[in-house]
Symmetry: C2
Subunit: 214 residues, 2 copies
DNA sequence: GTCTATAATGGGATAGAC
DNA sequence: GTCTATCCCATTATAGAC
């Protein structure tokens, strides 16, 4: 943290982030990372302790930045009471595509990394991510609850998971030039889903009997 | 395919599918797989040729079954013209949670595997999956286009990606007992998003200037 | 088809000089 | 803080007996 030569440490972080995102944690090797970062092989263990610890450091750096950016935009949206639903969703979605000063390329890279973390259940990283996310999720669920006072809180959390899935997979997949438009589309799509009325029991019954036919 | 001892081959397939889903392709080792399947280490190479080929075989088996189940339900939904939007979405979503005779546990396992395949860009498996998916996606996009004749086809494909993301990540994450209810929630959520009117240019403009303030 | 034994490779981590 | 050299370990894949 307080070392003079930040450049070696940061070159490792940047290079490893790229290679982990492109190839995955187990495929990218320390030899490859240190070679492309033009640092010595032993530097990883000196600065981070282990390959796992390096991954955690990469993750923490970006996720903290993403969460902070989301919170700031959420606070801005909450200056209106009740907040506008689209503003709350914007606060969640927009920072995901450009939360670093580096621009879209880094944002998409981290989305790929996030997707890998989601896929890696039963791992320290997955648990850590869920914990860091839980706090932010609760705040966004609350904010949406204020924008839609009639909604069921339990259902809102479920629907927020839909949005996370759509956002993460789409941002990790899409061509870079489209991310800004796609984010707007997602906000519109999600807002409509959240505002949709809950079907009555009678309508539910009709749907299930329809399914049974097929 | 036409060998007498299908049991060794199938025990490898089932065990490897479970371990790949739980741990990932590179963490699960052939030693672990063959030990838990109670077959000899060399049997994998004899029956499949390599670890990669084993993965492809696992994937093909389930994805073919999933696609077939989806197509059948889609055909049923298309017997009404124009089809009911919720029926089309049901045809896409419901088979994902119980497309094998084994029930929910296997379905969720494969969703975890699918999520890993999505995360693994630049890999043979990812490309193969996209190709197999493309055909089904086009048919579903067309069907939704029939249910919503005023919608823009390009936008529909984008929104279908949202649904795939929400479905895949949610099904891979969720507790088993909830999958049936969650699928119904997703259909309702997605239907509302698809039916949402496209904002006018004036409304778009208002939103962007609102963002600039924050 | 199934097994044992092993070849061939590459990985993460570390000791110790500078 | 940085480097070289190396330890130690695990992996996939295969050769060859049965």
């Amino acid at each position: 943290m307080f070392q003079l030569s930040v450049s070696t440490r940061d070159r490792i972080l940047d290079t490893a982030e790229r290679l982990f995102a492109e190839q995955g944690f187990h495929v990218a090797t320390l030899r490859q990372i240190t070679q492309e970062a033009a640092v010595n092989l032993a530097a990883v263990n000196y600065h981070f302790g282990s390959k796992q610890a390096l991954m955690r450091a990469i993750f923490k750096r970006r996720l903290d930045a993403l969460n902070t950016a989301r919170m700031e935009r959420l606070d801005a949206a909450l200056r209106i009471d009740p907040p506008e639903l689209e503003d709350v969703l914007d606060a969640f979605v927009q920072p995901a595509l450009a939360f670093t000063r580096g621009g879209d390329a880094e944002g998409q890279r981290f989305m790929q990394l996030l997707l890998r973390a989601f896929a890696d259940r039963d791992t320290d990283l997955h648990q850590a991510m869920r914990l860091e996310y839980a706090h932010v999720m609760r705040r966004f669920a609350d904010a949406i609850g204020h924008a839609l006072p009639d909604a069921d809180p339990e259902r809102l959390r479920q629907q927020l998971d839909f949005i996370v899935g759509a956002l993460t997979l789409t941002m990790a997949e899409s061509a870079l030039k489209d991310t800004r438009i796609i984010a707007g589309e997602l906000v519109r799509f999600a807002a409509a889903g959240l505002r949709a009325p809950i079907p009555t029991d009678a309508e539910q019954e009709a749907r299930f009997s329809l399914e049974a036919r097929s």
